[in-house]
């Protein structure tokens, strides 16, 4: 692990996000997210760590749809952290990421209630990967059993791996070396990931944009996910 402190940040440009769901599948593949099936989705138990919320504005024919991808916002002042009785979720001081320790989680689901972004998902059952579907599993990521809370980790395994690679090659971690699965896949490049502690990184520049805002900013959770407002050119 490198000595320097990182402040990993994701920028989500709502002007670019098309709602195409590529990130959703990328995340499921990378993080061994189980498929729960029709009935469970109907109950509201889909396990995706990223969901693209679609809101309507106006009425036909002047109706518009707005997409806003919501993931764990990796809050600096995360409401989920203090409520966990066993420290299964805590704040990493090195990465500035909100860590979820699957092995420690006992499943009080308190953190999920207290997350204003509804970013956490719970393993209601043991995941099913009928053979040979289990072979697709990413060996870098634990498969979570029933009764455990999980959420977006900013692909911490990729952060670690990039750090190790940089260390092995005796070079500093470069901007763009770390790409969570969703960012890597995003066809419209609406998602940008990087270290705002590095003033020259792409994210550091983007967070200074006039369009930048944080979701439910008034709650004071200080998310490390920054949204860029969708531009609204006035059209005839």
């Amino acid at each position: 692990m490198s000595e320097r402190e990182h402040r990993w940040t994701m920028v989500i440009d709502l002007d670019r996000c098309t709602g195409c769901q590529a990130c959703v599948v990328a995340c499921s593949v990378e993080n061994n997210i189980p498929v729960v099936g029709e009935d469970e989705v109907r109950m509201g138990r889909a396990m995706h760590w990223i969901r693209i919320e679609r809101y309507w504005e106006g009425e036909y024919p002047n109706v518009r749809a707005r997409f806003i991808p919501v993931i764990c916002q990796q809050c600096e002042r995360a409401p989920c952290e203090p409520v966990c009785p066993v420290f299964a979720t805590y704040h990493s001081e090195v990465e500035h990421v909100n860590i979820q320790v699957y092995n420690r989680c006992i499943g009080t689901r308190y953190c999920a209630n207290n997350c204003p972004y509804i970013a956490r998902v719970f393993n209601w059952f043991d995941p099913q990967f009928p053979e040979p579907l289990n072979e697709q599993l990413n060996p870098d990521v634990t498969v979570r059993r029933r009764g455990i809370m999980e959420k977006c980790t900013f692909c911490i395994q990729r952060i670690r791996r990039a750090e190790e690679m940089a260390e092995a090659e005796r070079r500093p971690l470069g901007d763009g070396d770390v790409q969570p699965a969703c960012v890597q896949s995003c066809p419209a490049e609406a998602l940008v990931f990087g270290d705002v502690a590095d003033p020259n990184s792409r994210v550091a520049k983007l967070v200074r944009s006039r369009r930048a805002f944080r979701l439910l900013e008034e709650l004071g959770t200080e998310p490390n996910v920054i949204y860029l407002k969708g531009g609204e050119a006035h059209v005839g």
Binding site: C20, D39, P132, P139, R161, S185, P187, A233, V235, G236
Partner: protein, 739 residues
């Protein structure tokens, strides 16, 4: 940066001890997925990652992919950052390809029917036996009585099929699948032919355009090359100093239209009329300085009549025309919906003509054409129009076909039921299907030849439509084949060998790799991303980089056809099947972001991926305008019957605020009776109730030209969706949208 990323990606990544597998051993009560090292193939090193470059075959676009393989298992598919088409990006379908490989219901052996056709009783046999048997059967048949029906195959397979049939003396394969029909490839090529004298697919450089008018286009979802267009869309929105604008004219608020700055709802089939009116205004107001000879295009166009037919006020049409004409880099793109209308060809021409009259051809942010392949060996097999399928089915019904080979298509599922394919199949003695899963067509076959998935086999693809490069994308196996499967190409080579004679001379290669290597020899001399002295090195580099692409930009600049000045653009009124009095609504089948034309409905990741507009999963729904729903007395989650003159389906109502009141939209993809545990018996297949109507000008299936009526059933089934429609409706009422 690209080189750095590639270097890193191609390095074998070490770190065996760092796997975060600790959870697997923590508790004995959990199901444990151990890494079965005992079965690890020899060439793998435990814990080390390999990244193989290949080509995505989840749709015909041909994006470059990198597949992460560790311990002999494919773990993740990512876009290949070096590949000029998708530049590291990949769509939802592309990422889910792993499940095609590891699907538990894959075919594992050669199957031969033992019971009646369709009974599902199969016996196993070996490849040697089946090749022997097929060779014998083929030899006993008149060549013209042998037919191949293929989907839009990868180039290597299409070429092998074509050569095989030519060698046999059989008629060429009918190349048709629903994805191609949705893309409107036939129509786009015909339009290019009419306007630019070359039958190739157009490329729209929206990334550098400041105003984009999309007519009936779903270019962000499934059209031609969605990753390319998604990427271009993103760039279009944040060009230096300019935010590109997108306006969508379509009957439905598709994901593309939802991303537009303005969605202009028009009745189905009238998008071309809008384009005509815009052109007329542009010409009348004299914006077309340089192209006065094209004024004949718009002779007799009545803007007022268009306004009336489309419901777009004439003043607005004028504003749209001016905005387009004033722009520095405007581009008008026709889309898939046009191709589904009976006036598709004319409408497509009318839209592309907007670029023509303003002289925006082959420049920054305008329209380009896909260049032709760098060598004759890499020529593509053209897509057949629907008309060819119809003729094939007629021949089958008349008993003129003895053997039907189906490859890369699922006609039993995807053809309109009214075409009578399933019945016609009964008159065919021998039905052979190549498939990796037991799909509907395979289930009705005599012999099912289990095919490799694209992650287990070799191949190449000349990418069309491409971007600014010539691209020959490489495909290679990333894992050892899981089962006793073969690539259909290899099967054809073996068959040809067995048959001998002319066929064997046409297909002289011992295996697929040899064949592909001969195709690539011409590339070695061209200037591209890889330079190699000998064929072996070239082959190695080609595989390593994921393909060959030209060094220089290879846009083909469209040259207006010589005879355009005499041309008058006419967009006839769209025609529809079904009496308006009995079938008051227009049916719009919507190709799905997740299932495409339905071939990926078996993959659980995609089943659970929400539809972008409705957030629905696992089911089929019917999108109804709120006013229409109210008139019909139906609400969210009620089951309705959608009846066309050719059949009926049942699906769940989704009250969709973004759809023309005369239109019902139904997503394509569900309603499978086969294709594995996750696809079977859910939702409904809208393709079955379409009118089998061909458009005379192109032979294309007019898939958006069916009228239907929607009736209540009184039953209910809650649509499995992510959104809370109560919440979202409240947010709309109050005008509060987070963000």
């Amino acid at each position: 940066m690209a080189s750095k990323v590639t270097r890193r990606q191609f390095l074998k990544i070490s770190g065996a001890g760092l796997l975060l597998l600790s959870g697997c051993t923590a508790n004995l009560q959990r199901p444990v997925w151990m890494e079965p090292y005992v079965r690890a193939p020899e060439e793998t090193l435990p814990g080390e990652d390999f990244w193989f470059a290949s080509t995505c075959r989840m749709c015909p676009a041909g994006c470059g992919i990198l597949v992460r393989v560790s311990n002999g298992r494919a773990r993740k598919i990512e876009g290949n950052p070096a590949h000029p088409l998708n530049q590291g990006r990949l769509c939802a379908r592309g990422q889910a390809g792993l499940q095609l490989l590891y699907h538990p219901d894959r075919l594992r052996h050669v199957l031969k029917r033992t019971g009646e056709r369709g009974q599902g009783r199969w016996g196993r046999t070996t490849w040697e036996q089946i090749v022997e048997e097929l060779a014998q059967q083929i030899q006993g048949m008149a060549p013209e009585r042998i037919a191949f029906l293929t989907g839009l195959l990868p180039d290597y397979q299409a070429t092998l099929v074509a050569r095989f049939l030519k060698g046999l003396g059989a008629p060429p394969a009918v190349v048709y699948d629903t994805q191609a029909a949705f893309d409107g490839r036939v129509v786009l090529e015909a339009a290019s032919q009419a306007l630019f004298d070359v039958p190739v697919l157009p490329i729209f450089d929206i990334a550098r355009a400041d105003v984009v008018y999309a007519f009936g286009s779903n270019f962000l979802e499934t059209w031609l090359s969605p990753v390319v267009y998604n990427r271009a869309y993103g760039r279009m929105r944040s060009q230096p100093g300019v935010r590109g604008m997108l306006i969508a004219f379509a009957p439905r608020l598709s994901m593309t239209a939802a991303n537009a700055d303005r969605w202009v709802p028009v009745p189905p089939g009238t998008e071309g009329l809008v384009a005509l009116a815009l052109g007329k205004i542009i010409v009348d107001e004299g914006w077309d300085k340089s192209n006065a000879e094209l004024r004949g295009f718009y002779e007799g166009v009545d803007v007022g009549a268009v306004a009336q037919a489309t419901g777009v006020p004439a003043e607005e049409l004028v504003q749209f025309a001016r905005r387009f004409a004033e722009a520095h880099h405007p581009v008008a793109m026709p889309g898939d919906l046009l191709a589904g209308s009976t006036n598709g060809l004319e409408a497509t021409q009318a839209v592309e003509a907007l670029n023509l009259v303003l002289g925006h051809l082959g420049e920054h942010g305008a329209i380009f054409l896909t260049p032709s392949p760098p060598s004759r060996d890499l020529r593509k097999v053209p897509v057949s129009p629907f008309q060819a399928v119809r003729e094939l089915v007629d021949r089958m019904a008349a008993g003129e076909v003895d053997a039907l080979f189906v490859l890369g298509a699922n006609p039993v599922y995807e053809l309109p039921a009214a075409l009578g394919f399933t019945d016609a199949l009964k008159n065919v003695q021998l039905v052979v299907t190549f498939a990796s899963m037991m799909d509907e067509t395979a289930a009705l076959s005599d012999i099912v030849l289990p095919a490799h998935t694209y992650l287990e086999t070799w191949g190449y693809e000349f990418v069309s439509p491409s971007t600014d490069r010539l691209i020959v994308s490489a495909q290679q196996p990333v894992v050892r084949p899981l089962y006793d499967t073969r690539d259909p190409g290899d099967v054809l080579l073996a068959l040809a060998d067995k048959l001998g004679g002319k066929v064997a001379r046409r297909l002289p290669w011992p295996n697929l790799v040899h064949f592909i290597q001969t195709r690539l020899t011409s590339l070695q001399l061209l200037e591209g991303n890889i330079a190699a002295q000998d064929a072996k090195t070239f082959w190695a580099y080609w595989l390593q980089h994921g393909g060959w692409w030209s060094k220089e930009q290879a846009w083909q600049v469209p040259e207006p056809s010589q005879n355009l000045s005499a041309k008058r653009l006419l967009v006839p009124s769209p025609e529809f099947d079904g009496e308006a009095s009995q079938y008051p609504l227009h049916l719009l089948p919507v190709p799905s972001v997740t299932f495409g034309d339905g071939r990926h409905a078996g993959l659980p990741w995609l089943q659970e991926t929400p539809d972008p507009m409705t957030t629905a999963t696992w089911d089929t729904w019917v999108e109804l305008n709120p006013a229409t729903a109210e008139r019909l007395g139906v609400k969210h989650d009620e089951i309705v019957k959608v009846t066309s003159p050719f059949g009926e389906i049942e699906a769940v109502v989704y009250v969709f605020p973004g759809i023309h009141p005369d239109v019902v939209a139904v997503p394509v993809g569900q309603g499978h009776s086969a294709m594995g545990r996750w696809a079977e018996g859910r939702g409904a297949n809208v393709l079955r109730i379409l009118a089998p109507r061909t458009v005379p000008s192109t032979g294309q299936l007019a898939w958006a030209a069916t009228r239907v009526r929607v009736t209540k059933t009184g039953r209910r089934r809650v649509l499995p969706r992510l959104e809370s429609n109560i919440g979202v409706d409240r947010a709309r009422e109050r005008g509060v949208v987070p963000g």
